[in-house]
């Protein structure tokens, strides 16, 4: 009986036991591993994120490299998805666009998510004049049609990624604020919140450890679909010429550029379009799954 063998067995048993412990002691994790839409969505989004991260190795050419002698080529072993009107490799552009669009989606959503949740929590928890003031501000922002507001803001602030960040920061937080405010209103009236207060806990403690864990779920779930909205908005803005500026590869501008060749090179627009659709489906599934998993019982 050799010692190393024993050691290996021991550690793998430990690993299994540890895994079993983690899964058993976290009912949320256990539910997550059983949730089909979360797993499917997670697989889709995970693959996309992986592609985005590995873009420099997966893309076979520089996405900006033009070759005016080889424009609009058909798919081949050299160019898997052919080339566009400037002779750039479509596959490489698609992969780099995934990296850019996904990153944009996630980062643009971060500020509205955090700020909206904060405002909604304060309004819902404290009520009174704080709620009145914050709710009126939310109403004013909500009164504008979403896209009109975004487009106007981008137009005013300046096109490109900076404009998109600022426009969403100003316009998008209200949805989070409204959702979180209403769930906070419900949560703070629950008897457990009353019990926490009469136990002498501070408002801060009650908000952070009691209210937020119950209310933030909704915001997280919405954030998933919001990433899709942001990507769509970026695509739409790109289509209007207000979005990502050339030559940065981005699914929106690829769709826009490809439409001229729709009859002969349909895939130039269709494939980036499909990428948007698949991302949307993946994130929506993740959102649905998270809603199931995180919902308190």
């Amino acid at each position: 009986m050799s010692a190393p063998e024993l050691a290996t067995t021991g550690s793998s048993e430990q690993a299994v036991a540890l895994e079993g412990f983690v899964v058993r002691s976290h009912p949320t994790l256990r539910k997550a591993l059983r949730n089909r839409s979360l797993l499917t969505g997670g697989a889709i989004v995970g693959t996309l994120v992986l592609i985005a991260i590995l873009a420099p190795w997966i893309a076979r050419y520089d996405p900006l490299q033009q070759d005016l002698a080889a424009t609009l080529q058909l798919p081949s072993w050299v160019h898997w998805l052919g080339t566009d009107e400037l002779g750039r490799d479509v596959w490489s552009r698609l992969v780099w666009a995934a990296r850019f669009d996904l990153a944009t989606g996630f980062f643009v959503v971060l500020f509205p998510f955090a700020f909206g949740t904060l405002i909604g929590t304060l309004a819902g928890y404290y009520g009174g004049w704080i709620d009145t003031v914050l709710s009126r501000i939310i109403d004013v922002v909500m009164a504008f049609p979403y896209y009109v507001l975004i487009i106007t803001l981008v137009f005013v602030v300046g096109k490109g990624i900076r404009g998109i960040f600022i426009a969403f920061a100003l316009a998008d937080w209200v949805t989070y604020a409204r959702t979180v405010r209403s769930t906070t209103l419900v949560a703070r009236r629950m008897d457990w919140a009353a019990a926490a207060r009469s136990g002498g806990l501070s408002d801060r403690r009650i908000i952070v450890h009691h209210i937020l864990p119950n209310t933030i779920t909704q915001a997280i779930v919405y954030a998933m679909s919001d990433v899709v909205y942001v990507i769509l908005a970026v695509v739409t803005l790109g289509y209007l010429g207000l979005g990502i500026q050339a030559p940065q590869p981005d699914w929106g501008s690829m769709i826009f550029d490809g439409q001229l060749f729709m009859t002969t090179r349909w895939w130039l627009s269709t494939i980036p379009g499909l990428c948007v659709v698949v991302t949307g489906i993946g994130l929506s599934l993740v959102g649905d799954g998270l809603a199931d998993v995180l919902r308190p019982e």
Binding site: A194, R197, G199, P296
Partner: protein, 354 residues
């Protein structure tokens, strides 16, 4: 004279509903002696739960205290403002009706118990945990080490109620306010929880206010009883005396509407009519439309709780009759009289078909 554990004086709560407002609790006063229990009994909607929440400083937004004072062992507690509830720590703790909504669904129950010791009483993390385990054991939970890490949904209703009691005790209260603590539970579990509350009262010298709609429970648990009807107290006194000889027609009605298994099998006699909308309370004595003793004066005279000696009080204009005559017989007679006028019609209908 001893200082009462809990003294409630002239408590009046108004609830705004749309543009109007009504009194959900109207001039309620009582005193609870240390290490004793008082029961507050009444139909759903009579204002008994709201009165407890007012005492705890946990009124909903639409409600506010317009008059009254609350003192625990002589210390006055403020009834207004957001911080009011926090001031209760160390004086009062409340046990809520529904253990399903009284525990935070996303926090481990042990942590919910340990929170007050750790953050308010300044215990270390380890000491707070010890304290929580001790409390879990104290409220009769087997295997507290394992239960500490449970989430509320993993527990049964009875266990949740025990956890809630542990949370209440963690804040070291002198007076425990129980808002129908067993209504949401199975009968067998009810008995266990009541037993636990009685034991705790004895062991820890707690004083208990017990709100319920079951007079029988009050009979088992409480030395004193307050009967509440339409936001007001209508009768108060030592429980055995009140149950033996009620001095308000409403108390009598409550007693008679309960099924009594000790007596020979007799159908319960519900009180006719229903609790009035608190915003449209009848004039005079609010109970007069449903009362078997009612006379025209009852609709015009304002009645107040009047002392009758032996610690008893009643808010009835005709309390003399209940003192001198047999209330049950009076009620029977009134019930018969009320049925009679309808009788001929009933008989005629029967004849027609026959």
């Amino acid at each position: 004279m001893t200082i009462p554990a809990l003294k409630v004086e002239g408590l009046t709560v108004e609830i705004a509903r749309g543009r109007e407002s009504f009194r959900a609790v109207d001039d309620v006063s009582y005193a609870l002696e240390p290490a004793r229990s008082i029961g507050i009994v009444g139909e759903s909607g009579c204002g008994k739960s709201i009165s407890l929440r007012a005492i705890m400083g946990l009124l909903p937004d639409a409600a506010r205290v317009v008059a009254g004072a609350v003192a625990v062992h002589g210390t006055g507690l403020s009834l207004e403002g957001k911080g009011a509830a926090r001031q209760r720590r160390g004086h009062l703790a409340m046990i809520f009706q529904d253990p399903g909504t009284a525990l935070n669904p996303v926090q481990k129950v042990g942590e919910q118990i340990a929170e007050t010791p750790r953050l308010v009483l300044g215990e270390t993390r380890g000491r707070a945990r010890e304290r929580a385990l001790e409390l879990l054991r104290h409220v009769g939970i087997a295997d507290p080490e394992r239960r500490y890490d449970s989430y509320p949904y993993e527990l049964s209703g009875g266990t949740r109620q025990r956890v809630m009691i542990a949370i209440a005790l963690a804040s070291q209260p002198k007076v425990l306010l129980c808002d129908e603590p067993t209504t949401a539970l199975d009968v067998t579990i009810q008995a266990q929880i009541l037993r636990l509350l009685v034991d705790l009262r004895e062991e820890m010298g707690l004083s208990v206010v017990f709100v319920t709609h079951e007079l029988a429970l009050v009979g088992q648990l409480c030395e004193d009883v307050c009967v509440m009807y339409a936001s007001r107290l209508v009768e108060t006194g030592p429980t055995p005396a009140v149950l033996e000889r009620p001095l308000h027609p409403y108390t009598l009605g409550l007693l008679r509407s309960a099924v009594d298994l000790d007596e020979e099998l007799e159908a319960p006699k519900p009180i006719p009519g229903s609790l009035p909308d608190p915003a449209r309370r009848p004039s005079g004595c609010p109970f007069h439309p449903r009362c078997f003793l009612a006379t025209p004066e009852c609709a015009s005279t304002t009645v107040t709780l009047t002392g009758l000696g032996d610690g008893r009080a009643s808010a009835c204009l005709h309390v003399e009759r209940l003192l001198t005559e047999d209330g049950r017989a009076l009620q029977e007679a009134a019930a018969k009289a009320a049925v009679k006028p309808q009788d001929p019609a009933g008989t005629a209908g029967g004849d027609g078909r026959g």
